[in-house]
């Protein structure tokens, strides 16, 4: 085990951790490994003559590359450019985090700043300040989230069930893509139908080759696209087989077909393509987002995207990804803020990465949260995936931040999945030859991922798509089938989405559709100006975010204890024999049990039934020659005082104090309350056999021996996380049973199974 070069044993341990699979790049601006402020980044400049830009960021107009040229021609508001460029960069950075400077003013000024200027401005902000600036600058007040819904077989039945699942969890956009290029139609239909089972208004994208993507959109199955990639250097742009003009034209074409569109950019793309020019990632991305605003696209998907793992490998990489998103927001672009690629094998790095986004809120926290199993993600694993969805919910709940998702009950979930499976099966049966047995459908209902499904295989799906293409099937056909087969609600919802296209309201910046209503930066602008402004969760939303599986309440604990108590009542009985007096037997060890022990509490946090605990203590004492006596302490539930009270009653002066949750102490009559002989505070780890040894040790102290203290093995478990909810509730039950001033009672304990 371990790396033979390691001398320190801890390196061996670190080498076994997931982090050890991550690689870290040495900062090397010359070779493009530089988050910000590369020596090759130009100094900001803008020279305007007779209303024309003749120099930008140190480059004369005659040497503009295609990006410079498009930016120079279409990006600037020349009426404020001189003012904007004259503002000191640090001062503008200050304005970005000043709640008294309105967003509108910053957006307006940004239209007069060059890419180099913008990169320089952001360079003055810390990670904390970037997050804060983001909360002020994002376009839409209401944050949202987008899901990836794909599977390894392109199986439309699973896809419909998973789309319904994603819609239930709260995603406003669903992005799908295919394993087999021909399968786009079934993917798109499945996502649209699945989402329609749950609600009206989930926007659907099927990421494909442009022409095919347009055709599917025209058939009415999808409503947005985010595959308009742009790059920060001319060579990488051309390598991507486009120019700013071809992309600007395509952007207009998408508008002409009623599709919401956003561009994709992100650091490290140029580095991966080999054309970085030695410029920093942030500067290149600044060129990309300026270009996007110049093209007139409403939004962007940026923040590394596929390049995020590479960006994260350089010093300041996480900062840079966040800075890109802030830049997009400053430029008034809807920002789907990346977080859609697993940038690290370390779960700690994953959780840390998402936090600034959750704290600030962005238009879409993830531009593809993997709502499906990691292995089913045809885009590759996302930052967060189905596997980690509850972790995400826990973060939302813990910090009261809006990540767009919410808890869903299993009943809701299975009902929606079942209906989605029936609805898509009806569509496929009618419009193609695809037909499933009940068993095949059921395999999808309960499946986490395609490993568990027995439904359609990629080859069959390809056949269905050929049929759909041949018959020129559009959403109208799907609506007709749904209506004919009793899925009227779903038919109506699909129709309602199609109707949205006629007015194009969702083409405005940062549009989503909630309950059939378009919500965008036009009618829900972010106007954060300090505490209590901007997005504030409603009480209803707060409650939705607060729900988790495995929530525990006092009621749950009491019910659980009552059931155990009823079950265990056949094993033992405790009977009071009146007030307890001091003993005079020098071998006597008194066990002082707490007020609730065996009354309304019946097992320890370690899961050991209390009758077994008491039996083990008694046996341990007897084995070692002690004479046990059991008393019920009524005036306290504190372990130390339970123990000391018992010790003072014991003829030997040694006593055991034990709470209903299992925490135990061995005490002696002449010790200070908190100076015990042995304390066992990690109740969840104490087993039945341990209680026996504890009893034995108490007897040995009573007889004047010096036993080795009992050690309860601890391997670093987060006991607080696992048990404190239950512990606190159990202890509250105990303390509520305290009777101040009441003396201990002697108990007669009878066991019915031969103890």
């Amino acid at each position: 085990m371990g790396n033979s070069q390691n001398k320190w044993a801890r390196y061996d341990l670190w080498d076994e951790r997931h982090l050890s699979l991550d690689r870290f790049a040495v900062e090397d601006p010359e070779n493009g490994f530089c988050a910000a402020a590369s020596p090759r980044d130009p100094k900001p400049s803008l020279v305007i003559e007779h209303g024309r830009i003749i120099e930008m960021d140190g480059v004369p107009a005659s040497e503009f590359d295609i990006i410079d040229e498009f930016v120079a021609r279409h990006y600037f508001d020349l009426t404020i450019a001189e003012t904007a460029m004259a503002i000191d960069s640090r001062e503008f950075a200050q304005m970005l985090v000043d709640v008294d400077v309105p967003r509108e003013r910053l957006v307006k000024l940004s239209a007069g700043m060059t890419p180099a200027k913008l990169a320089e401005v952001l360079g003055h902000l810390s990670t904390l300040e970037l997050a804060f600036a983001n909360s002020k600058l994002r376009c839409r007040r209401q944050p949202s989230n987008q899901a990836h819904v794909t599977n390894a077989k392109d199986d439309p039945v699973q896809m419909a069930a998973d789309a319904a699942t994603a819609a239930l969890y709260g995603f406003d956009e669903i992005e799908t893509t295919v394993r087999v290029a021909r399968n786009g139609r079934t993917n798109a239909i499945a996502c649209a139908v699945g989402a329609a089972v749950v609600r009206d208004g989930v926007l659907i994208q099927c990421s494909l080759e442009e022409a095919e993507e347009l055709r599917i959109a025209l058939a009415g199955f999808t409503s947005y696209t985010e595959t308009l990639s742009v790059y920060g250097t001319e060579a990488s742009f051309l390598d991507g087989d486009d120019t700013p003009w071809s992309k600007a034209f395509l952007t207009a074409v998408y508008a002409a077909r009623g599709l919401k569109a956003r561009c994709t950019s992100g650091s490290s793309a140029e580095l991966l393509m080999g054309f970085h020019e030695g410029k920093s990632m942030l500067y290149l991305e600044a060129r990309c987002v300026c270009l996007q605003r110049a093209m007139g696209v409403q939004g962007t998907q940026n923040g590394g995207i596929d390049g995020a793992p590479l960006t994260s490998s350089v010093p300041r990489g996480g900062w840079e990804l966040l800075a890109e998103n802030v830049l997009a927001a400053l430029l008034d672009l809807e920002c789907a803020s990346g977080n859609d690629t697993r940038h690290s094998e370390s779960e700690i790095r994953v959780g840390a990465k998402i936090m600034p986004y959750l704290m600030a809120g962005t238009d879409f926290i993830c531009s593809g949260f993997g709502s499906i199993a990691k292995y089913d993600n045809s885009f590759n694993a996302s930052l967060f995936n189905a596997e980690e969805m509850e972790d995400f919910l826990a973060l939302q709940r813990e910090f009261q931040v809006e990540g767009g998702l919410q808890h869903v009950s299993e009943d809701q979930l299975l009902a929606a999945r079942a209906r989605a499976i029936e609805a898509i099966s009806a569509v496929l049966e009618t419009l193609t030859s695809g037909r499933l047995t009940e068993a095949q459908k059921k395999s999808v209902l309960y499946a986490h991922g395609s490993d568990e499904t027995a439904s359609f295989m990629p080859g069959e799906v390809a056949g269905m798509n050929e049929a759909l293409i041949e018959r020129n099937i559009t959403f109208v056909d799907v609506v007709q089938v749904l209506a004919a087969r009793g899925f009227t609600t779903e038919a109506t919802r699909l129709l309602s989405m199609a109707r949205q296209r006629v007015t194009g309201d969702y083409l405005q910046t940062a549009a989503i559709i909630r309950d059939g209503r378009v919500v965008s930066a036009v009618n829900d602008p972010n106007r954060y100006r300090g505490p209590g402004t901007g997005y504030v969760m409603t009480d209803e939303r707060r409650q939705a975010i607060n729900r988790m599986r495995r929530e525990v309440s006092k009621h749950d604990v009491l019910v659980g204890e009552r059931i155990t108590g009823q079950q265990d009542s056949r094993h033992w009985r405790i009977k009071s024999k009146g007030e307890a007096g001091p003993g005079d037997d020098p071998r006597e060890v008194v066990i002082g049990i707490s007020p609730g022990f065996g009354v309304c509490l019946h097992k320890t946090t370690g899961g050991v039934p209390l009758y077994k605990v008491l039996a083990a203590l008694l046996e341990g004492i007897r084995e070692r020659g002690g004479h046990p006596r059991v008393v019920r302490v009524r005036h306290t539930a504190d372990t130390s005082f339970l123990g000391l009270t018992a010790a003072r009653l014991a003829g030997s002066g040694v006593g055991i104090g034990i709470q209903g949750k299992g925490t135990t102490v061995i005490h002696r009559h002449d010790q200070a309350p908190h100076m015990n002989l042995e304390l066992f505070s990690q109740a969840p780890l104490i087993g039945e056999a341990d209680y026996r040894v504890i009893g034995g040790n108490a007897a040995r102290y009573a007889l004047g021996e010096s036993p080795d203290p009992v050690t309860i093995p601890y391997r670093g478990q987060a006991l607080g996380a696992r048990f404190h909810v239950q512990t606190a509730l159990l202890y509250a039950i105990e303390t509520s049973m305290i009777e101040a001033g009441q003396n201990p009672e002697v108990l007669e304990v009878k066991f019915y199974d031969g103890r």
């Binding site: 295609i66 040229e69 498009f70 279409h74 990006y75 957006v107 442009e210 022409a211 347009l214 055709r215 025209l218 058939a219 009415g220 001319e234 051309l238 087989d241 486009d242 120019t243 003009w245 071809s246 600007a248 034209f249 395509l250 207009a252 074409v253 998408y254 508008a255 002409a256 077909r257 009623g258 110049a294 093209m295 007139g296 696209v297 409403q298 008034d332 959403f475 109208v476 609506v479 007709q480 209506a483 009227t488 038919a491 109506t492 129709l495 199609a498 109707r499 296209r501 006629v502 007015t503 194009g504 309201d505 083409l507 405005q508 910046t509 209503r517 378009v518 965008s520 036009v522 009618n523």
Partner: protein, 145 residues
């Protein structure tokens, strides 16, 4: 464009489908209110009724302009010009704009003329002419495959 299509009060006009459904008619001239499930099942409305319209896009462009987004407005106006142009024409133009697909600025200028003369797409035609100039200077017409 009519005067009342320069919206002063965004709250009163947007979302159009909600606040002023009467302002937009479908490509076949139907009212938004006609786009019901019953009408669709009865065959009174067709797939083509559910497309975006040039009028709708121009109205959205005016809204974007009013909301302080001139670039988005410009893009939506270009979009409005392209609504009635067939897919294959649009995809051909897109293809021509990609690097190295055509070998001279003349091809792009011819496409610009076609867009302007046949379809009245002035803004888009200007975009193509601008591309022709820049491509020439940067050698983008060089064959790539």
């Amino acid at each position: 464009m009519m005067d009342d299509e320069k919206p002063d009060n965004l709250d009163a006009i947007y979302p159009v489908g909600e606040k002023h459904p009467d302002r937009v008619r479908t490509r076949n001239g139907r009212s938004l209110r006609d786009l019901t499930l019953d009408n669709l099942l009865a065959g009174h409305v067709a797939t083509s009724d559910f497309g975006i319209t040039a009028d709708g896009l121009r109205l959205q462009a005016a809204i974007a302009e009013r909301a302080g987004r001139p670039n988005l407005a410009q893009n939506l106006r270009r979009g409005a010009e392209l609504v009635e142009i067939p897919d294959n024409v649009l995809l051909d133009v897109y293809e021509m704009l990609r690097p190295g697909r055509v070998q001279s600025a003349d091809n792009l200028r011819a496409a610009a003329n076609q867009l302007r003369d046949t379809y009245g797409a002035k803004e888009t035609a200007s975009l193509l002419e601008e591309a022709a100039l820049v491509y020439e200077r940067r050698g983008i017409f060089q064959r790539r495959f």
